[in-house]
């Protein structure tokens, strides 16, 4: 009898537990007084942290496959050793641009993105060329392969630290023929910022960058802002880019501004074919691209980006790769070249983040 009673008690209790707690279940159809949710607060001891997200910003590209073309323009290669100055006509230069960027850690305390990029420039030149620089551009082109990691660390609900570390292999290198590790170019950013509200984020810091062609240590400024009407905004990351954004609607955006692109390319093939008295030769390339862009959602998370503008040459000079040049160093480069300006176009298809 005792055993049966025990069993009855357990069964009853279990049956009660099996019932759904009606106080926690709100059917969709049920009418609710939403005003009660206005007067809510965080539980005691709960801390909040700012996020990197800014309302209205263009969607983050997780994967991007693009094609870039510019030209025609002329290259006047400077005298070098026994080679005289030579003018070449570049019908166009073009290449694929691949980008991948994944948020691998994303929580209240940390945001860590891992990225990879690949860019190539092939030079279509008519006629024969004999100058070493023009020859290697024509025969090998230029490539950039890199990986990067970006860290966003909120300190509290307003302030954060931002840092990025990038390593790139740049040069006149063929596919799958990576240069030695000591030829890696390392760029870095460290910045301190604050998020005023969900439409504005600002950061100021220092960067080690090759965007000017050679290595530079210069300040970096980030300012992303969306006006209250959500139609207009800025996406600024100086010196890399400054863009004004117009949002037609959530699936169509227009941008105008400029970008600064640059890198130092190891000229391995040129060294191989034209022995040099230096340990390394590098092409210091830097260009300012005025930009007009249209980005739109093709289908759900697939966005297309179309960019066009005028490419202004800032630097296209060959230097001793072992030499560090400060911003104020005006000693002549080993090969001083003149690169004419040109129109460019760029189109990419992108998988964007939620």
């Amino acid at each position: 009898m005792k055993t049966f009673f025990t069993l009855f008690v357990y069964l009853s209790v279990n049956m009660l537990w099996a019932q759904t707690d009606s106080t926690k279940t709100v059917p969709v159809e049920e009418e609710e007084d939403y005003s009660q949710y206005a007067d809510a607060e965080a539980p005691e001891g709960s801390k909040s942290y700012c996020t990197s997200k800014v309302l209205g910003l263009s969607p983050q590209k997780l994967i991007s496959v693009g094609y870039d073309v510019q030209g025609p323009y002329s290259l006047n290669s400077g005298a070098y050793a026994a080679y005289l100055q030579e003018k070449s006509q570049i019908d166009y230069s073009h290449g694929t641009r691949l980008l991948a960027n994944f948020p691998v850690i994303s929580n209240t305390r940390w945001l860590v993105n891992l990225g990879a990029n690949y860019m190539e420039s092939a030079y279509a030149m008519g006629g024969s060329v004999s100058h070493p620089l023009a020859s290697t551009l024509k025969n090998n082109g230029l490539r950039t392969m890199g990986v990067n990691v970006t860290l966003f660390k909120p300190l509290n609900s307003k302030y954060f630290v931002l840092s990025q570390l990038s390593t790139d292999w740049n040069g006149d290198i063929p596919y799958f023929n990576l240069p030695a590790m000591n030829q890696l170019k390392v760029s870095a950013v460290a910045a301190f910022g604050f998020k005023k509200h969900d439409r504005s984020i600002f950061a100021l810091g220092i960067s080690r960058t090759y965007r000017g062609g050679g290595l530079l240590y210069i300040p970096v400024l980030m300012f992303n802002y969306t006006y209250p009407n959500r139609k207009w905004g800025y996406e600024i990351l100086l010196p890399a880019k400054a863009l004004v954004r117009y949002t037609v609607n959530s699936r169509n955006m227009i941008f105008a501004g400029f970008e600064l692109e640059g890198a130092a390319y190891r000229l391995n093939n040129m060294m191989k074919d034209y022995p040099s008295q230096y340990n390394a030769l590098e092409l210091k390339r830097s260009e300012i691209r005025t930009r007009l862009s249209y980005e739109f959602s093709l289908y759900k998370f697939i966005w297309v980006s179309i960019n066009t503008g005028y490419r202004l040459n800032y630097r296209f000079a060959v230097d001793n790769g072992d030499k560090y040049r400060s911003f104020f160093d005006d000693t002549p480069y080993i090969i001083e070249n003149e690169l004419a300006n040109a129109f460019y176009a760029n189109v990419s298809i992108n998988l964007v983040a939620p």
Binding site: V13, Y34, A40, E41, A42, K53, P103, T108, P354
Partner: protein, 153 residues
């Protein structure tokens, strides 16, 4: 005597499975309540229906347009749904508790761009919910951290 021992074993087995089921149920229900999204623009009430978890928008920082009319789901790809009010909109659907403070198999709708994403949620502590919207696999996604709110009495 043997029958009694068997009977007791059955009772213990039943008791054990019931306790386990109860603890799973209470763990699963830890997600219920009011949450504020990372941007602090909206508050979502997560509720349970038919053993699945849903969430609806119950508060908006800016509930009305400049002309005073209530905000609607104007970015919905389905034109017929563009006049549905955002307040009360069920934007989290179909989550299942899989254990270890994780809810998966759901979707999240972003009224900002009219897109629906696969979604997984992770209760990192009692008052913090990591909501990851993603495309296909979780690597292709973004996490928004939500904070629990309690209604003032």
């Amino acid at each position: 005597m043997i029958r009694k021992a068997l009977f007791l074993k059955l009772i213990f087995a039943y008791l054990f499975t019931s306790l386990y089921a109860f603890s799973q149920s209470t763990d699963a229900d830890k997600i219920l309540g009011l949450w504020e999204v990372g941007s602090k623009k909206a508050r979502i009430k997560i509720y349970k229906q038919d053993e699945r978890y849903f969430g609806k928008i119950v508060w908006l920082k800016e509930p009305k347009y400049e002309d005073g009319t209530p905000k609607v789901d104007k970015n919905n790809p389905d034109e017929a749904l563009r006049k549905v009010p955002l307040l009360g909109y069920v934007n989290l659907k179909g989550f299942k508790y899989i254990g270890d403070n994780k809810w998966e198999e759901g979707t999240i709708y972003d009224p900002e761009n009219g897109s629906t994403y696969s979604c997984a949620m992770n209760l990192t502590d009692e008052n913090t919910l990591d909501v990851r919207g993603f495309i296909g696999v979780q690597l292709f996604g973004r996490t928004d951290t939500w904070k629990r709110l309690v209604i003032k009495k």
